[in-house]
Symmetry: C2
Subunit: 462 residues, 2 copies
């Protein structure tokens, strides 16, 4: 009976997954009325992940009000799901006693995730309040480099000796307390704790007690060094469809396990980094105050100002020409804009292909040749379209010809730069998503203005 009730409830909610917007409004209104009883009653029905989303959607003062009203029995996982800047602000406001109580109850990997973002003093204050074994575990894990497998892993895993049978394994699992709640693979280890195989749990369940564990092991075992970058870890999981994999120390001993749910977050993060970098922002800042937002975004705009000035210097070279044929000033932004957009298309494809490894040194020459050819075709197309537009607009065939030719030149240069710049940055070991677009638009602006105004000076002023 009770099972059916719960499931029916879930089934009626199924059209709209995640947090319900009506509930968000209700909680907001309750908090505005200081009706914390209603707000907490509503909030308590939520999965910690949805509760975190709710907290984020509240005004800053409402967040604090709700959390204080929920009291210490709020599911600590809620904090693991919060966006970094919101979490920091709340932990600071709630104080280290609160923070210590929350972090003490988190899994070590989540605790590490929460603590690594805090500033030193706050982190120390919380660490001091942790039970000693928890504190040691967290500090040990924080010693791994940022964004490494060591920070990502869980320290609880299930490992059995090579010579065990399924029956022994099942008896061990039934009798041993303190094993992880849920796990997907059982690792086979040699006497030195080196993993030598992995067995999916379902295979154990389907096998008779007399079967040897080593006979059930998967053909391949992917060991993850604790220092491996999380981006490589994510690639490994995707490429080989892993659900969990053992993390090993420098001596090759198993020290933890990474599971696919951790990796799902990394995949999302890495893709997000690329989107943001291409847009000229370093991190999401929806929940960050305006002044801090400006502090983060202004440096990029300053770089853009400098590159825009460089492009304008090209225009300044042709002031006299423009003074005599003002139509040039009208048409020149079109040439630059078309180059910028065509280049961005190629750039986006190239950055993405480098990330997914569809583009590598092995096929770089072919991809460059292809983009160059596509750029020429595009250029010829927009030479025709552009020239026609300029002819109709200004009725001057020479101006139209110059405009079309400049378009061709810029689209070809844009295609070449769009693929060459990210490849070059990648070869230099830099992240092509971060700096590519500045270089690209500088080139397409400079070339666009120079080609158009230079050609115009040659053709129109003779």
């Amino acid at each position: 009976m009770s099972i059916e009730g719960e499931v029916r409830d879930s089934a009626t909610r199924r059209e709209r997954v995640g947090l319900d917007e009506a509930l968000v409004s209700e909680v907001r209104e309750a908090l505005e009325r200081r009706d914390t009883a209603l707000a907490t009653a509503l909030a308590r029905t939520l999965h910690p992940s949805d509760l975190a989303d709710l907290i984020q959607l509240l005004e800053p003062h409402q967040r604090l009000l709700l959390l204080r009203a929920l009291g210490p029995d709020v599911d600590p996982d809620t904090f693991a799901y919060l966006e970094e800047s919101v979490r920091e602000e709340l932990l600071e406001r709630l104080g280290p006693d609160w923070g210590g109580r929350i972090v003490a109850e988190l899994d070590v990997d989540d605790a590490v995730d929460v603590l690594e973002d805090l500033d030193r003093a706050e982190r120390e204050a919380i660490l001091e309040r942790l039970p000693i074994h928890e504190r040691i575990a967290v500090e040990e894990q924080l010693r791994f480099p940022e964004d490494s497998a060591g920070r990502l892993m869980q320290r609880d895993f299930v490992a059995v000796p090579e010579y065990w049978l399924v029956g022994q394994t099942i008896d061990y699992l039934r009798a041993t307390p303190g094993l992880p709640d849920d796990f997907y693979d059982i690792f086979i280890v040699d006497p030195r704790m080196h993993p030598v195989g992995g067995v999916p749990v379902s295979r154990v369940l389907r096998s008779r007690r007399s079967v040897a564990m080593r006979d059930l092991r998967l053909k391949e075992l992917h060991l993850i060094p604790a220092t491996m970058d999380q981006e490589e870890v994510a690639f490994l999981f995707r490429q080989y469809g892993l659900v969990s994999a053992p993390v090993v120390d420098e001596q090759g001993r198993i020290i933890g396990v990474i599971t696919v749910d951790d990796v799902v977050d990394v995949i999302e993060e890495e893709a997000e980094e690329d989107i943001l970098a291409l847009g000229g922002v370093s991190e999401t800042d929806v929940f960050v105050p305006p002044a801090e937002t400006v502090r983060r975004r202004a440096p990029w705009l300053l770089i853009n100002l400098i590159t825009a000035i460089i492009a304008s210097m090209v225009i300044a070279l042709f002031e006299e020409t423009i003074a005599r044929v003002v139509s040039l000033a009208v048409l020149m932004p079109i040439v630059a804009s078309m180059g910028g957009n065509a280049g961005t298309q190629t750039l986006t494809i190239a950055v993405r292909a480098l990330a997914t490894r569809e583009l590598s040194p092995a096929n770089a020459a072919r991809v460059i040749a292809k983009e160059l050819l596509a750029g020429c075709l595009n250029g010829l197309l927009f030479l025709a379209v552009g020239a026609a537009v300029a002819l109709v607009w200004f009725g001057d065939p020479w101006l139209a010809a110059v405009f079309g030719l400049a378009m061709l030149v810029n689209l070809v240069v844009a295609a070449l730069s769009g693929v060459a710049i990210p490849l070059l940055l990648h070869r230099l070991g830099l992240d092509p998503a971060v700096a590519s677009s500045v270089f690209l638009t500088t080139i397409t602006d400079v070339v666009g203005f120079f080609a158009f105004l230079g050609l115009a000076q040659l053709v129109l002023l003779d």
Copy 2:
């Protein structure tokens, strides 16, 4: 012994995950020499996922050569891992007999994935060659809408009645052939095949035979309607850390299961769609021929041409002013460019926040107010910087003042548009990643030119 050998091998490869670049070169060179024996020997050592990557990095004629040399014993999963355009081309060249043999050996969900991209005639030709039960299964699954849970799911799952004990379940799993290879949850179903609970496999393994399955079930069960969009499915998995979830038909009966490895691909795909859309491209086209590339990218450039012309018409309004003060032509692209870049920053954040649901109607007003304030601060900052630059460059305080003010106006408008446009598109049910940036740059160009040239006309020509 043999285990250790394999693992050691894997451990030495661990620094560089995925396909080895030296191997790619070796295969390419072997194929150029027509040394297919070496090429196939090297290729046969690879995981199908790496083999797919290798094939993609070859020249088109080499791909065919390698696959023909590998012959029909190539792991069919290789085709499931290939990028769409490469797969289509190869299946077409290799013919429907080859294709049928490959598809027949794939899991149904992978078969659906391969077939859904082909054109009708080719798909039919391959379907005709499938064993009848396989064909029916694939056709049934193809009847679900594109990008739906129904297309994504696997049809094999493990379900047991509510009243079973752990012991019965284990006996059933040991005795029944034809169950899926690996699975992560066992679903509890009522007599009408409605799922009423999910039990992680590891919990079954850790429990005594006399424990009732229903007592092991997780608190929450998330049912996925077969028609649910894959983006919602991915959200569900991420939000609640799911590893597998049952797919149900309209009557609520279980008809399949979606596992996290399918979802990992969807997450990657969805993030990629956003990156590409913001860059003005609809799909990755690294492996697509140049003419087809142009066909895909030119429409976007044409739209950009139209919007650039609109912005240029604004300039045309001020031709006389520019003719008298040519420095305006030099400075005006800077105003437009700064607006475009600042707007793109805000836009990127907003598009991303909408996708991750950090931005919703509940907090839209606050986020708009915040961006507007950040835009004002940014505007004041670059009013000062811009005016200083213009003053030093042209020595005209009035021109400098006009330039700075226009910058302020455009940065404020950019901030507002950057968050308002995606919110508006989202509310209209459109994808904010696709169209936002055209609207944005049109606005920042028009406003930038109008504010700067208009102010200049008022101030400088009096």
